[in-house]
Structures are given as C-alpha cells and as structure tokens.
C-alpha cells in the first residue's frame, strides 16, 4: 500500500519544522536560542499556508487509516492558528517566565503535530499515537517551569490522570475492536450497522466517552483541568485550552458521529447529559474563583459543554456548529490568555483583584479581555453569539431543555465575567502608570479582537466554509 504523500504534506512539514528547531537549537549558541521563537513562528505560518493551500486535497491514504477531508483540514487550520498565536502572542511571557527555547518551541510544534495526526486519524492506532504525542508534549509543557512547584504539581497531576484516561480510552478501544473486529473507523461504522455490538460495545462506548471527554474536559471528567490550567505556564494553558481541546473535539466527532452512529441511541442522551453537566459545573464553580486562570479554566469546562451540544445533534448542522464554535473559541480564549500573560509579565499576579483599574492602565488589554469573555458568554455582535446560535439551532428540535439550560448558564457566566469587568473598569488603579504592551502582544490582541468582532458581525464566510467542511464529513 503506497502512501499518498500529497495528502500529508502538512504533517511532514510540521515534523520537519519541529526537528529543524531541535537540531538548529543544538547547533546555535545558547544565547541565540531566543530567535527560535521567530523560526517557529515563521515555520508555523508556512505550515499554515501549506494547510490552507492543500484545502482542496481530499482523500484517504494507508487504506483508510489516514483521512484527509475538509473536516480534518478545518481543524488542522484551527490547531495551527492556535499554535501560531501561542508562539507569537506569548513571546515575551516565554522569555520572562519559561525559558529553554529549544525544548519549548520544539515541543509546541510536536504537540501541534500530535493534534494534526489525531485529527486526521482513520483508525484507533493513529488516533492513539496522535493523542499520546499531544499529551506527552503537553505534560512536558505543563511542567515546563520546573523551578515552579505549581507547574510541577500540575504536570504530575496531568501525567497521572492522562495516563489513567489513556488506559480507559485504550480499554474502550480494545473492546470496540473486540466487538467489531476492526480498528478502522469506517469499518467499525459498517460493522455496527451490520449488527455487531452487544454489551461490551456499550462499555467500550462509555470508556471512549470518558477517555475523550477527559481531553475536552467535559464534566465529570473535567477535574484535572482547573488545576492544570492554573499551574501550567499561561502560554501552555492557552494552547491546552484551544488546540488540544479543538483537536480532541475533532476526534470525538470522528469517533462518535462518524463511526458509532449505529448505536446513536445509546450515546446521544449521554452526551447531552454530559454537556449539561459541563455547562452547569463549569459555570457554577467559576463564580467564586479569584484567580483569573482558574476562572477561565472552569469557563472552558463550560465551553466544552456548549461545543458538545453540536455532537448531541449528530447532524451536519451540529458538526458545523462545533467547527464554527471551535474556530471562534480559539481566538476568544487566546485573546483572554494573552492578556493574562501580558499582565502577569507586568504585575506578576493572576489574581482578579490585582486587575484593578486595568482599563485605565492598559485600555486595549482590558477591552480585549472584556470582548473575549463576552464572546465566550455569547453576547451578540461578538462571534460567540453566532457560534451558540449555530450550535443550539442544531438541537432545538427535541432538546429544548438543553438549549434553555445552555443559554441560561451562559447568562450566568456573564455574572463572573462581569466581576472581572467590574474590577478592571470601575476601580481606580493602585499604580496608575500605563502598562506598555509589546508589539507582538498588541498585534495578537488586535487579531483576537478583530476576528471576534468581525465574525460576530459578518459570520457568513466562515459559516459557509464550516458548512462545506461538515458536508465533507458526512459525504466523503
């Protein structure tokens, strides 16, 4: 069986980029390694260019083990965009708080590679390897500030829990394999339609949900995420919350909507309940938080709940909703975390109380944080509103309770977002000197702001692309 290399150009380019950074970093003197960030940025932009350029390429290679369709391309682009923003927007943060450019940037690139492989996976093994590459990279990244006990604690928690969840996921995969006799998604789907199944498949299904639910931090499998998000370097948190989550959603859809459709009646309600739980728990616990990273972590649990709504629909419109929302979610989250990191650089604190008067010290940062949080809450004129509209549209027939719950909980989320807004806008700063943001941060913030607002007002093009992509998912 020959490999169609044209389909995996993005992956190859990314692997080369990662290895190049690695080797280059070893060659050049330690003091020059700071420039690796620029190389990573440039490389990632080129890879993104390749990914965009190869949008028309569709097909499967390696006998269906590697699927390249618009669906996967879309999520690849999402992941790459997240990676680019992480590399670009957090340069100063990395320089000041993380260091070890060689390991850092190469691991970031490899994590991206893991995501992309996972997104395109057509079988369990590729899925697993992609997932593990991503996870291992993230473990390294989370614990990267090895001089910081919190970072290490987050690392060990993530490692152990990810290990357990991997074990569960694998056990589930093995049971599905046992029940259907194949590891290819397409064949699994066919086999289930043909009647294989049984109770072991159900257990496998549950374990799959648990394993993948862990990655997207859906309640009640979410409990790692607040701790890890808080402890990890902010740049990593941002990447974990965007890239990792988006890729995991891609594979979640691939497995459930694409492969386990035959036993839909068993998991649709389950996913709905998990979505509801995520919205509830994420939003409720976010209310009393005082650390902004932790608050954003809980809010990302809630966001996972919203995105899962699209999976409940198990339809083209649902998948489209997930894609649309993932895309805008990346920008909103990135914007918010970029502000957090930039502010941390200046005031060395992640406590919400220390954001007092930010609107006067750094108006742009405060505005972007406001806009990004409101977008996550789904306030109109911002992209999050349109995203939620698409998501809930997919399930409004038959799941009105979930729609109502989702909308009400997103209004609850406004409550804790506004508490941050209150501190930023109402209070007068203790130290009124303006916070000067670096150009890279400013540009990242402007990108996040621009995309969030633009897509909120004019979502047409992205929505059409997402629609095409979702269509390709259902009619390969």
């Amino acid at each position: 069986m020959n490999i169609d290399f044209s389909l995996i150009t993005t992956e190859i380019a990314l692997a080369i980029l990662g290895l190049a950074i690695f080797t280059l970093g070893l060659i050049i003197p330690r003091s020059a390694r700071k420039g690796l960030g620029n190389i990573a940025l440039l490389g990632l932009i080129i890879v993104l260019g390749i990914a965009v350029y190869s949008w028309p390429n569709q097909g499967e290679t390696l006998g269906g083990m590697y699927i390249v369709d618009h669906f996967s391309s879309f999520f690849k682009i999402v992941g790459l965009v997240a990676a680019i923003l992480v590399v670009f927007g957090f340069r100063r943060y990395v320089a000041a708080n993380v260091g070890n450019y060689l390991e850092y940037y190469s691991t970031i690139v490899f994590a991206t590679l893991g995501m992309i492989v996972m997104i395109s996976a057509g079988d369990f093994i590729t899925l697993y390897l992609g997932l593990e590459l991503m996870t291992i990279s993230f473990i390294v990244l989370v614990a990267f500030r090895s001089f910081d006990v919190k970072s290490l604690e987050a690392g060990i928690k993530y490692l152990l829990l990810a290990g357990m969840s991997s074990a569960v996921l694998l056990y589930g995969l093995s049971l599905v394999y046992g029940a259907t006799g194949t590891i290819l998604f397409a064949e699994v789907a066919q086999s289930i339609i043909d009647g294989s199944g049984g109770l072991l498949l159900i257990i496998g299904l549950v374990m799959l949900i648990a394993g993948l639910g862990f990655k997207v931090s859906a309640a009640p499998f979410h409990m790692w995420s607040p701790d890890v998000y808080e402890g990890a370097p902010t740049s990593v948190t941002a990447f974990l919350a965007t890239g990792s989550k988006a890729a995991s959603f891609a594979i979640l859809i691939r497995v459930f909507v694409g492969s386990l459709t035959g036993i839909q009646e068993h998991w649709v309600m389950l996913v709905a309940v998990l979505a509801a739980l995520s919205m509830l728990i994420g939003n409720l616990i976010a209310i009393p938080q005082t650390n902004i990273k932790r608050m954003l972590a809980y809010s990302s649990v809630a966001q996972a709940g919203y995105i899962m709504v699209g999976i409940v629909a198990a339809s083209q419109s649902g998948v489209k909703g997930v894609m649309f929302y993932s895309f805008i979610y990346v920008f909103a989250t990135m914007g918010a975390f970029t502000v957090v990191a930039a502010v941390y650089n200046k005031i060395k604190s992640d406590e919400i109380a220390d954001y007092a008067g930010l609107a006067q010290r750094a108006p742009l940062a405060a505005t972007v944080l406001l806009v990004c949080m409101l977008s996550m809450a789904g306030i109109p004129l911002l992209a999050g509103f349109v995203g939620k509209f698409y998501l809930f549209m997919a399930i409004v027939d038959g799941y009105m309770w979930l729609v109502l719950l989702g909308l009400i909980m997103s209004m609850v989320s406004v409550y804790y977002y506004l508490r941050v807004v209150l501190v930023m806008f109402r209070d007068d700063p203790v130290d009124p000197t303006p916070l000067k943001m670096e150009t890279s941060v400013t540009i990242t913030l402007l990108i996040a702001l621009g995309v969030t607002v633009f897509l909120g007002i004019y979502p047409g093009p992205l929505s059409e692309i997402a629609n095409t992509a979702a269509q390709s998912f259902f009619t390969p």
Binding site: F124, I125, Y128, L129, E132, I136, I139, V140, A143, S146, V149, K150, L152, E153, A154, G155, I156, K157, L159, L160, G163, M164, S166, A167, V168, L170, Y171, L173, S174, L175, Y177, G178, G181, T182, I183, L200, P226, D227, V228, E230, G231
Partner: protein, 105 residues
C-alpha cells in the same frame, strides 16, 4: 481452535487486572506506586488486544501492532513520569500524592 478458550476468558482476566490497577491508582499514596498501577491497567489493555488479535483478526496483526505501540508509549510515559517525580521530590518533601494539593478549589 473451536472450543475451549474464547475471548471472554481473556477479557475477564484483563478486567480483573484493570480493576486491580485501578484500585492501586486510586488508593496508593506513593506517586511511583500510582504510576506502576497505571502500567498494570495498560497491561490489561494489551491482554485484550492480543487476545482479540488471536481470535478475531489473526492475519492482520492489528491487536499486536496496537499493543506494541502501547508498550512503547507506556515506557515513554513512565520515563517522563519518573523524571517529574524526581523533579518534584527535589522541591517538596513528600511522596504522598494527596499532599500535592496546592492547586485546588
């Protein structure tokens, strides 16, 4: 093979191993102990995979290949895990996982 052993036996075995690993992962205080419990769980998965490989798809070697990858990854994970544990033990005077609760609420 016909009669005799069928996958259910091996699933039973793996389920038991998985359960034991899970017990260990949940109940042990020592971090290393938890790590090896996770290895037990992964082992259980491997038993499943190899058993299915034999009974269901003997030609394609899917299960065995899967198992090899799992072993590889697991080894890497253990290595990384031990490195982390060592790093932590330098800074926190504890092996007790429950003491690692600075990040909470």
């Amino acid at each position: 093979m016909g009669t005799g052993l069928n996958p259910s036996y091996f699933i039973g075995l793996s389920a038991a191993l998985f359960a034991i690993g899970m017990y260990g992962a949940l109940s042990k205080r020592n971090i290393i102990s938890v790590l090896i419990s996770i290895e037990l769980m992964l082992c259980a998965v491997n038993i499943n995979l190899v058993a299915f490989n034999k009974f269901l798809t003997p030609d394609a070697f899917l299960g065995q290949i899967f198992a090899i990858f799992i072993i590889t990854v697991a080894a890497a994970e253990v290595g990384l895990g031990l490195a982390l544990i060592i790093a932590i033990s330098r800074r926190r005077e504890t092996n007790n996982l429950d003491d690692l609760n600075w990040l909470r609420w």
